[in-house]
Symmetry: C2
Subunit: 508 residues, 2 copies
């Protein structure tokens, strides 16, 4: 039984998500043969065979382009160097050369270009011809709107197995996300196995053997991410959110008092002891070498002052420093020390927005991460921070762990990150955005359908031109098409509404 393609399937089969900056397609189509298709480095290309990232990408994308094909394709790729661009003739076969002339990408966007190309190839609906693949004549010029397009995973509130993280990286690449913000530790558990301080995980993880990330696990995540063109940004949040740290490192946290005696509980990191900074310096030295990214996330959010204020040593220190009873000054003092530690390690700091509120001496290259509030309030924050010349990163509208019934992706799609009062210069300080999947109610059982394709709505906002992608209704069929493509690639992306995919998810 076969069905001719109807208008709808014609319309969606050319869909690319996120939408390229310029995209012209025609109904003129050409078959692609997996037997004849190859990737080839151009003779004048700056990159050549042996470039591991590209070689790996070609290998990876072959089955994504030809999903049912089980034979061996020829893996060659042709690029011809032009200043700052690569002219890619993808799949130079006799049949297709005439049609697919040139896809232009900025050189470092070659990986995302491969993703785009893979989304352009489709199979026809005729079941008898399994190996019939097609691509329509298409011209694309593409580049991302924002340089930072992140996803935060929280591996402290629930432990996520490494393969869950790796699969999330794959799916990130499919929507052109390029930063994995690894919120690796927090109050509930400390799964990072430190070389320098092994007790942090052996005493602070949910389980010292089965619920940790070894050095080898971390390397695996970083190297997998690298092959997809994804940076790994580690977060070691302090001085709050550190309850689990205290289990493996005595004297790190502030002992809380009830009246004049110890209550037995602990508060944020103790900011008045020199040993605290010695510990942090050694820990961040290790972290800086383990995670090669130029940036490091230092947290700094939601510091509760009640324990600090109960502690007589802290109060004495406040008095000595002339902070009065303003604990925000103590927090600023602490964060300044931590930022100095990581600056000395040649890392640029990213901190949650709380830090900016209290801190005047924060280095100008620090990135402020906005997580609080409604559009009205985060727009004011964007305005204020960029006016101070600070770089900012927007997460507030993309707390995707929050769920509600129905098509809630509209709210992620409709965000306008640059819609705040400010100059052109200020707007340029918005380096990107981040989808946050906090882990209170999320682990490996439900992460994927909760993340995909909802996060991809934000991906289009962060990649594409806002004017061309201003209507969620118009985007809907293309978004449905993306979700079916994700399912086709084995990602349990949940449905957007009533309907079906040609290839449904077949796992259980």
């Amino acid at each position: 039984v076969s069905r001719p393609p109807d208008w709808f399937s014609l319309a969606v089969q050319f869909g690319v998500w996120p939408l390229p900056q310029t995209f012209t397609s025609s109904i003129e189509r050409s078959p692609l043969s997996p037997e004849a298709f190859y990737f080839e480095y151009g003779s004048q290309s700056a990159a050549q065979q042996g470039c591991s990232v590209l070689d790996a990408a070609f290998t990876r994308y072959f089955p994504l382009i030809f999903p049912d094909y089980t034979g061996n394709g020829v893996l060659r790729f042709y690029t011809c160097y032009q200043p700052a661009t690569v002219c890619c003739t993808v799949g130079v076969t006799l049949l297709t050369a005439a049609l697919i002339d040139c896809l232009l990408y900025i050189i470092h966007l070659l990986l995302t270009g491969l993703e785009t190309f893979s989304q352009l190839v489709y199979q026809d609906d005729f079941g008898a011809h399994f190996y019939h693949y097609f691509v329509n004549k298409t011209e694309i010029v593409d580049f991302p709107r924002f340089q930072f397009r992140g996803i935060l995973l929280d591996t402290s509130r629930h432990y996520l197995p490494v393969k869950t993280i790796l699969q999330t990286l794959d799916a990130m690449a499919y929507s052109k996300f390029n930063v994995f913000h690894w919120h690796i530790v927090d109050d509930p558990s400390f799964p990072y196995q430190s070389r320098t301080y092994p007790d942090l995980s052996s005493k602070g993880a949910f389980h010292p053997m089965t619920h940790i990330y070894t050095q080898s696990d971390v390397r695996r995540v970083i190297s997998h991410a690298r092959l997809w063109g994804i940076r790994v940004l580690p977060e070691f949040d302090s001085p709050g959110h550190t309850a689990s740290w205290g289990k493996g490192q005595s004297d790190l946290l502030t002992p809380c008092y009830r009246g004049s005696s110890l209550s037995g509980t602990f508060g944020p990191v103790n900011p008045v002891l020199p040993s605290t900074y010695q510990f942090m310096a050694r820990l961040f030295k290790e972290v800086s070498s383990v995670f090669p990214d130029s940036h490091i996330h230092l947290g700094g959010d939601e510091v509760n002052f009640s324990c600090w204020s109960s502690n007589p040593d802290i109060r004495a220190f406040m008095k000595k420093m002339g902070f009065g009873v303003d604990f925000t000054k103590l927090e600023a003092f602490y964060m300044e020390n931590i930022v100095n530690i990581t600056s000395a390690l040649n890392k640029t700091a990213i901190v949650w927005q709380d830090v900016f509120d209290y801190h005047e001496l924060i280095p100008k290259d620090t990135v402020l991460h906005i997580w609080k509030g409604t559009p009205a309030s985060y727009q004011a924050e964007l305005s204020r921070m960029t006016k101070a010349g600070m770089k900012v990163l927007l997460a507030a509208p993309w707390y995707i762990n929050h769920i509600s019934y129905g098509q809630d992706w509209h709210q992620y799609y409709n965000v306008q990150p640059l819609d705040f009062p400010g100059t052109e210069e200020q707007k340029k300080l918005v380096i990107g955005g981040e989808v946050c999947m906090w882990g209170e109610y999320v682990d490996a059982t439900n992460l994927t359908p909760r993340l995909w394709p909802r996060a991809s709505a934000a991906a289009e906002r962060l990649w594409s031109d806002e004017k061309q992608t201003s209507s969620a209704d118009k985007a809907f069929p293309r978004f449905q098409d993306l979700r079916c493509k994700l399912v086709r690639r084995g990602i349990r992306a949940e449905p957007l509404y009533v309907g079906h995919c040609k290839h449904e998810y077949q796992g259980v």
Copy 2:
């Protein structure tokens, strides 16, 4: 590395969900050896080797009781017949015989008794001894509060692969659900492949080959369910919710008019044509033989009268019948005919509550299914229906497809199905309840984490004594334990809150 069991793990390792009617456990525990453990039919037992349901259950439960064990256990089971009960000595080994004396169950509850027993067995925390299993001395008397404990899956709004349905049946048994309400067809698609009317699926399914349930698929679902002690209740909802039926059966649906001419669209089933009832009689004859359950669900909800009222033939019929302009009378006329058809096939009808509102001649054995409203309104409906002597089934508070952020299982747990004005006799007419997973936003990608363990909150309400299970907070640790047991059995049950399971979900 090993950890001694702490108070918490001691408390939860004896957890059974749903809570048995009487449950007395002691800290006295006995090891169980998978090498020595066996199930055995008692010499005086009514059931003997060759009873396929029990034989299959013993085979199935062995690995559930000993999850890490890879050897071959001895599968025997001992039951000693007593009037109306089975005295089960489970696992008569030299070591355990002294401790586990007798678990009492009503005879048809042997399967649920096996489930209970499987939940009582636990492994210690010492990693070195993989095959150390224990069971504490426990006395249980158990029976369900309600006879009908159902889950509705909707395979029309999205197609669910057969193996997704089979896995859901497994998970249902783990929470002692005993009815799979298969809402198999609806407006968007007709995946049931009828022997009598093959066009219904070849033209009305999302895809005629890949998105259908063949006769063999249906048999597989029914036989799998039977082995778990689960009934399969099919629903063929009419006269509304039938858009997909019209694609493969011309003249079945009502042609709608715009003014005096056909609009080209169709409404509910056409209730004025004799051919409609001939079609329904043949279809339901087939359905009645394919689905062996004593009950059949006929739908009858949400009939939109606008198309009927636009059609001159319908209006003429109304006039002839003396219905005036009261289309509820036409709906009642239609439903009465359908109920008569299925009555003649020896099936008891279940209908959605809408039907009761319009229908006085409904047979007294028909079961009314409450799906609308807030607690205040469904309580009034329960009162009114049972006062009329009708049996009722409660679904309204358990529309589990609706999601919200946080621990929303509390609302399912806190339902009090018998809290309505009425006599004891009226209360007895509430035969049970049903968790409904409507399919607008659900398919195989997200069904399982959305269903489990949230549905299990309702399972406890339907099985257990309400007084003993009145506090969601008190139930929480036991509920968390259940969720980890589900994960341990390969069910992607989502987390309830921050924390971990000893064995996390390992798939992707």
